[in-house]
């Protein structure tokens, strides 16, 4: 039995050894990542989280950009037409997988960063950083509500709730203005503070720059609600202009890119899936627009339709059958600026809001008789001039000649009609002037299709060629897509809320692509 005693002693020791798990906590700590408290404690890490919020909310990653912007709003506002036969969105099909990823690219990638930075800056008393994330939150969310309408907004991040409710677009827009008021007040009180520095991919944390951005954003949102609440629109627009908006391209808001986190267009142009639209060709060629070579390249095959120009636009909504024949060589790709750097591209920063757009917003306000610091015509001309300067085309003389030009859009191919009949030179009745302003804004916004599609819906401009084919029974080929249908993942994970939004007053219509959003009231 001595041996049994020894054994039990031995086992007692072994038990102790085996249950000795002192290093387990360390073993189960990922050396390549860090815990959330570390981010909250470090302004540097907060800034890097802010940078990620900026890049992801603009859909910076190439494939996220493609399935959220390029294949929806960029196509629906007719900047481009797709040449890949399987890309159904050009035939007005809201492809479910892409839309799901568009939703999740914001809510899964960007929103947690926004919540994190907002909470951390508030907890640490970083007033400028907190104002910046508030402004950015408005910028990010207005893009999302402009796609879908009612969305989860006011209660996002509230884990005390069973489900996050949808807010009506009206409530969201009204709260945007309040949030901007708060942010502006915080910035004005701390103009000597700099937040995040290199973590801010737009202004390096300069509060003065963020003020003009906040005001310019307010102006964009104000014009957006013009038809549904003219009083609010006017007061917010005038408040914005009074407080100081973008005046030159030096003010423009971009999200900077680097060699690794690139401008998404620059990558997806390599994939050969879209070309210049017929509408673009009709307008840019008709106006003899000097921005044309900055935007697009001549077709590889040259002048294939015999219209005397090597720039060839493609009608949107091509059938699958017609796309069996490659349209890439016979139509205009993007200009080399937007191509891979190996092909002469410059990997440009991602445009958020520019001075040219701000002038067109002011021009539209002035058209309504609002105090915009100039006449509609003056501001229209400044918009064009600023855009030309931004694209570095022409000189004062040629720009002035362009502004005075009576050129009108032309047929994109022999036998076709021009897409519209308005000249560049400002004139005509108020509606025509509006069409001119928005058409020029559409040109200036390029390649920001997200905003261009919103303004197309709001104003109906620029006029578009009818699509060759619509495969959407709700939206005919000569109509405009009005919104995105809610995504299937929301029906899986937030069924009650999305159902309430559809069935209640929030959406105020069926969950279809032809239901107009709250601000879409013209």
């Amino acid at each position: 039995m001595k041996i049994m005693k020894n054994i039990s002693l031995f086992f007692g020791m072994v038990m102790l050894l085996a249950s000795c798990t002192d290093d387990f906590e360390e073993t189960n700590t990922d050396p390549l990542s860090f815990a959330i408290p570390a981010i909250e404690d470090s302004e540097l890490l907060q800034g890097q989280a802010f940078a990620q919020a900026q890049y992801t909310s603009m859909m910076g990653l190439h494939w996220r950009f493609q399935i959220s912007q390029n294949l929806f709003s960029d196509i629906w506002c007719q900047y481009f037409a797709t040449t890949a036969s399987g890309f159904d969105s050009d035939r007005y099909v809201q492809v479910g997988n892409w839309a799901d990823l568009a939703w999740s690219s914001f809510y899964e990638e960007s929103l947690p960063q926004i919540i994190l930075v907002e909470d951390a800056t508030e907890a640490t008393g970083n007033a400028v950083g907190n104002a910046m994330i508030k402004i950015w939150k408005v910028n990010a969310f207005h893009r999302i509500t402009d796609y879908w309408g009612p969305i989860p907004y006011s209660e996002v991040g509230n884990t005390d709730l069973e489900a996050i409710p949808y807010d009506s677009q009206e409530d969201i827009y009204r709260s945007f203005f309040v949030t901007l008021d708060e942010a502006v007040a915080q910035l004005n009180a701390n103009l000597d503070q700099v937040a995040f520095t290199s973590g801010d991919r737009t202004y390096g944390g300069d509060p003065a720059k963020w003020l003009t951005f906040a005001n310019s954003l307010r102006l964009r949102l104000a014009l957006r609600v013009k038809y549904v609440d003219p009083v609010l629109a006017q007061s917010e627009a005038e408040k914005a202009v009074n407080a100081g908006v973008f005046l030159s391209n030096d003010d423009n808001a971009y999200v900077s890119v680097d060699e690794i986190n690139r401008n998404p267009l620059e990558t997806i142009t390599d994939w050969g899936e879209f070309r210049m639209s017929a509408t673009m060709e009709s307008i840019l060629e008709g106006y003899e627009d000097p921005r044309l070579p900055q935007y697009f390249a001549p077709a590889v095959d040259g002048d294939s339709d015999g219209d005397g120009s090597g720039y060839e636009g493609l009608l949107n909504g091509q059938t699958k059958v017609s796309l069996e024949t490659s349209k890439n060589a016979s139509h205009s790709d993007l200009s080399s600026l937007y191509k891979d750097t190996a092909l002469g591209g410059v990997n440009p920063p991602i445009e958020v809001l520019t001075a040219a757009e701000v002038y067109f917003l002011r021009a539209e306000g002035a058209l309504e008789g609002w105090a915009m610091g100039g006449s509609a015509e003056e501001l229209y001309a400044l918009g064009i001039t600023t855009s030309m300067e931004q694209r570095e085309v022409g000189d004062a003389t040629s720009i002035a000649a362009y502004i005075a030009s009576t050129n009108t859009p032309i047929a994109f191919e022999v036998g076709a009609e021009p897409v519209a009949d308005i000249p560049v030179a400002f004139g005509g009745d108020a509606e025509m002037q509006l069409e001119q302003i928005i058409t020029q804004k559409w040109l200036a916004l390029y390649p920001n299709g997200w905003e261009a599609w919103a303004e197309l819906r709001r104003t109906g401009y620029p006029k578009q060629y009818a699509r060759v084919q619509s495969e959407n029974s709700d939206v005919a080929a000569d109509e405009i897509m009005r919104r995105m249908v809610y995504v299937s993942s929301q029906f899986d994970t937030n069924f009650e809320s999305v159902s309430t939004a559809i069935n209640g007053t929030e959406l105020n219509g069926a969950d279809n692509n032809n239901t107009k959003l709250w601000w879409d009231k013209k």
Binding site: E25, G96, G157, N261, E273, K320
Partner: protein, 1017 residues
């Protein structure tokens, strides 16, 4: 070389020991199957340590007294007890033990036990032909069709790759359902795909969690136990084996040969589809974008252009094994060299596999020291990318337009006017398309894997009853892979792309085990064991990429436009203590008990221990009661086990990662800091019965397992600020039966016939997911075709896709343009992959020195969905697309005539459309109607045939050879019946739970035919 071997042989003869004797018993031991002398048979005087082994001619000599019992044992044969009589010669013929009832089987921790005492299902695999009919990919494929309850699906990656191996159904929602591999008692970190079949002595499959409670949590999916060969204690044998096999692919898609490139009936040389005019032999424009290739081409059918893409794969394997030793030291050495060429040019593998295993007894056999090192180096060129990877050559080969001539497409590049070398492709720059020969030659990869599996074990025998074993074992694998994609490959960085991947994985187990045996009296014996294990597993990799190259097609990291990199690391530790024991009564009733505690680093630190246990009872009825004459053996068994499991490392804290460029990104998942360990509860009952003097045997098992408290991520509304949440939930139930019938219908001296039939049927059901969760979409690899859902109340593995819209009466609705109305989302159940049942029938015949065996493998039921068919249909490449090209296609009439199709007014559809409009509407890549491209996955195939001839000993005796055997082998030779146009067994990504039942540009099924020559000294 031969001379040296001969010298060696002579030396062995000379050194052969002459033993002192009371009385010398001699004899020859032969194989009852073919009469060939058996070397290395253990001969032991029962109750003593006096033993020997037969030599290379099957001869033995042993000193024994009259009345002693000689025990002859040899792996895979029935042990024979023969009492020494007056004669000094005892010749023994060892017969194959098909049922292996008396066999000593290797169980947990390398412990050998009598099979009849086991309380759970284990099936030994006939490994006799495993080194002859060698599988072309993963060694485990040798088990296909042989083991009841085992499902194996192979990878589509060519000559290399790991299979998906599932026992008794899928059970894990977020983890692996695959079996654990145990080699020589040590769990591997990886699989057995690169082990050499020549080193294998035996394989046992432990099917349930019951069998595996002692291997720890990972064995809750069952375990595959492999014992490798060891040295001998008396004799030296040298064996050579060489195998040459040829593989051919079999493309089963039903291509049309009437129409070529174009659209709407009009020829277009840049079309990827075959919707052009009917072939008329006219001359058409050359498709090549090369300025130098301009001659017109004949517009004719090229019916073999896809077949031409294949070559005959050649596999050559050579092995030398040396088994040697004496009573104290036994040594095994094996070296295997393999060279494989796939059915796609450039897909090649070269492997060296060296094993050295030494077992040493010291100090009056008090100490047993064993060590093994197995070093495997595998160099693989051009591992085939699978599925929709644009570098998968099959993605492009299958889609060859029907008029493209092989000789033209083989010219895969050209020099453009600007001097650049570009891809010669009919639709340059097309989304996802390529010339398959470009992919073959210009999208290349090579990888080198070095793997070391080894252990060192020391056992101390305190006395006959008590022993202590300590052991440490490692499985370390490092891989370096390079990918080279040339300039002008679609979606590849400009000027080319160069990626490197460096990965290291290590699994390190250290064990101790105390064993105590006691025979209380003649009726009662028991053993009790106490052991511990410390396991560490670590994986890391570094991946480098670029944003394009500076100099075109120079594949060097220094040539990267912008170097980018990814990194991953994970590590876990598990410490365990366990005890197990068995009580035996009258050698007929056995009670098994096990208990184990694990401490895992992956669980919350203050709650990181989980315990599990098993209990089993085995009763050999035929040893307790007198049985009726026909029943020669009857055993009943039952057992219950509950096995715990931990989770992945780093799953309990939410963290953030740095992203290159100065970003910080939060993890999307909200962890559960309150994790409970997973549990699998498993119950089984079985009957082993043999009849008619063991000529007929039946092994029947019923089992039921429930995997509960599983840890898995559930998608939540991302507006919470996170998109998944880890939950503890789930109850996945699998229940089923397994039956193995073995028989020897004919047994004479010259002729014998053995047959073995196995059958298994598994029914799964999702009993529970989590609170308020009735449905869960499993990881789908982002397929556009289908998603894989678990729904409460349904079986595992339901596939959903788009389907036809039906009215209340189930009639399909048609659009005004004659195309079907299709559901928007992937919300139509298109079927379930899991078979209704699996079966295998194996026959082996012997006539004198000639042996023939064949194995028929049956799977019945289940479906497979094919993205390839959906795309080929929208390409107009399939025979089905030739109907109604002139605009006379009527859905529900001349296509899908089995469906009742109605117009919106309820009347029968008569809207005419054309085939191109119809098939592009329902096929294609982005939104295919899965319902239209799902096929019955049932098939019966000739899995394995071997025809062997051993030179008779009368011929061999005069030569230095011990044996010479020539075997013709065939694997996967043909389908006896197959309902699908693809091989449902070849899957895209065996590591995904949702890979089952989905075909996406998989390589064709291949048949192998070969020759094996073995000779030994």
């Amino acid at each position: 070389m031969m001379k040296k071997i001969f010298m060696f042989f002579v030396l062995i003869i000379w050194a052969y020991p002459v033993l002192a004797q009371d009385k010398m018993v001699t004899g020859v031991v032969t194989d009852a199957n073919d009469g060939v002398p058996l070397p290395g048979v253990n001969v032991l005087v029962q109750g003593t340590t006096n033993g020997t082994q037969t030599d290379f001619d099957g001869n033995y000599t042993i000193s024994a007294s009259e009345g002693d019992v000689l025990v002859f044992s040899y792996i895979g044969t029935k042990t024979q007890n023969i009492t020494v009589g007056t004669s000094n010669t005892i010749d023994v013929s060892m017969s194959e033990d098909a049922s292996q009832l008396d066999e000593v089987v290797v169980t947990a921790l390398g412990i050998k036990r009598q099979k009849k005492s086991l309380t759970y299902a284990t099936q030994g695999v006939d490994t006799k032909s495993i080194d002859e009919a060698r599988p072309q990919q993963d060694l485990v494929n040798s088990l296909q069709g042989k083991v009841a309850g085992l499902s194996i699906q192979t990878s589509g990656s060519g000559v290399s790759g790991s299979s998906k191996v599932v026992l008794r159904g899928n059970r894990s929602i977020a983890g692996s359902s695959q079996a654990l591999y145990i080699v020589d008692g040590v769990p591997l970190g990886g699989d057995i795909s690169n082990l050499s079949p020549d080193d294998i002595a035996s394989i046992n499959v432990l099917k349930g969690a019951n069998a595996a409670a002692l291997y720890g949590a990972r064995a809750n999916n069952g375990a595959i136990l492999i014992t490798t060969k060891t040295g001998t204690s008396d004799v030296t044998t040298i064996d050579f084996s060489t195998t040459l096999t040829a593989d051919t692919g079999n493309i089963m898609f039903n291509y049309q040969n009437d129409y070529g490139q174009g659209s709407a009936g009009i020829f277009n040389s840049t079309s990827t589809g075959s919707w052009g005019p009917r072939f008329d032999g006219s001359s058409v424009a050359n498709w090549s974008p090369s300025p130098d290739i301009t001659q017109s081409l004949p517009y004719t059918s090229q019916s073999n252009n896809v077949n031409d893409f294949m070559q005959t794969g050649i596999n050559i394997a050579n092995n030398i094994s040396i088994r040697t030793g004496n009573e104290k030291v036994r040594t095994f050495f094996g070296y295997t060299n393999e060279n494989r060429e796939g059915i796609v040019a450039g897909n090649e593998l070269a492997r060296h596999n060296v094993t050295l295993k030494i077992d040493n007894k010291m100090y009056d056999d008090k100490i047993e020291l064993s060590a093994k090192v197995n070093y495997i180096r595998t160099e693989t060129d051009n591992i085939l990318d699978t599925g929709e990877a644009f570098t998968n050559p099959w993605r492009h080969a299958y889609r060859l337009p029907r008029n493209i001539r092989t000789s033209d497409s083989e010219v895969f590049e050209y020099i453009a006017t600007d001097g650049n070398v570009l891809q010669n492709y009919w639709k340059p720059g097309d989304n996802g398309g390529a010339n398959p020969y470009w992919t073959l030659n210009r999208n290349q990869n090579e990888s080198v894997n070095d793997r070391v599996i080894g252990y060192a074990s020391l056992k101390y025998n305190f006395n006959d009853k008590l022993s202590l074993m300590v052991r440490t074992a490692v499985d370390n694998s490092t891989t370096f892979r390079e990918d080279r994609d040339y300039n002008d490959s679609y979606i590849v960085a400009d000027n080319g792309d160069y990626e490197t991947t460096n990965s290291i994985s290590i699994e390190w187990n250290s064990d101790f085990l105390f064993s105590y045996n006691e025979e209380i009296n003649d009726d009662f014996n028991f053993n009790i064991n106490l052991g511990g294990n410390s396991r560490m597993a670590e994986n890391k990799y570094i991946f480098t990429d670029n944003q394009g190259l500076n100099a075109p097609n120079i594949f060097a990291i220094s040539n990267a436009l912008t170097l980018t990199a990814e990194q991953d690391f994970n590590k876990e530790k598990v410490n365990s203590l366990y005890t197990f024991g068995q009580v035996g009564f009258k050698d007929a009733l056995f009670l098994d008990l096990t208990y184990r505690s694990d401490w895992s680093s992956t669980l919350p630190f203050d709650n990181n221990r989980f315990d599990y246990y098993s209990a089993g009872l085995s009763a050999v009825i035929s040893d307790m009661f007198t049985m009726p004459e026909p029943i020669s053996f009857l055993k009943l068994r039952g057992s219950y086990a509950e096995v715990g499991n931990d989770t992945n490392p780093y799953a309990i804290f939410r963290t953030a990662n740095t992203v290159a460029g100065g970003f910080v990104q939060l993890e999307a998942s909200q962890p559960n800091t309150d994790l409970k360990p997973e549990r699998t509860q498993s119950l089984e009952f079985g009957v082993d019965a043999r009849f008619f003097n063991n000529r007929l045997g039946l092994d029947f098992t019923y089992y039921k397992s429930n995997s509960i408290d599983q840890l898995f991520p559930v998608s939540v509304d991302p507006a919470f600020g996170f998109s998944t949440r880890f939950v503890n939930g789930g109850d996945i139930q699998n229940k089923g039966i397994e039956a193995i019938l073995t028989g020897t219908p004919v047994q004479t001296n010259d002729f014998s016939w053995n047959v073995s039939v196995n059958f298994s049927k598994n029914d799964s059901e999702v009993l529970r997911l989590a609170n308020n969760l009735e449905s869960l979409v499993l990881e789908t690899g982002n397929s556009f075709f289908r998603q894989f859902e678990l729904n409460v109340g349904d079986p595992w593995g339901n596939m959903y896709s788009r389907g036809f819209v039906r009215d209340d009466e189930g009639r399909v609705l048609v659009n005004d343009d004659g195309t079907p109305q299709v559901t928007d989302g992937k919300d139509v159940l298109i079927g379930n992959y899991n078979p209704d049942w699996l079966g295998g029938i194996s026959n082996s015949f012997r006539y004198k020195n000639l042996s023939l065996s064949f194995l028929i493998d049956i799977r019945q039921g289940g479906v497979v969905g094919s993205l390839t068919n959906a795309i080929l249909a929208s390409d107009g490449a399939l025979q089905s697309t030739t109907i109604g090209r002139d605009g006379t296609l009527v859905f529900g009439d001349n296509v899908f005539g089995n469906l009742a199709v109605v117009k919106s007014d309820g009347s029968t559809n008569d809207i005419q459309t054309d085939a191109e409009t119809f098939w592009t509407a329902i096929g294609g890549r982005n939104a295919p109607v899965g319902e239209a491209f799902v096929e019955d996955a049932s098939n019966i195939r000739m899995r394995e045939i071997t025809l062997g001839y051993s030179l008779p000993s009368t011929l061999i005796d005069k030569t230095p050879f011990r044996n010479i055997k020539l075997t013709l082998v065939g694997r996967n030779l043909f389908f006896i019946s197959n309902n699908a146009s693809v091989d449902p067994e070849v899957i895209t990504d065996p590591s995904l739970a949702s890979s089952d039942g989905y075909e996406s540009f998989s390589p064709p099924t291949t048949r192998s035919l070969g020759l094996n020559l073995k000779f030994g000294f």
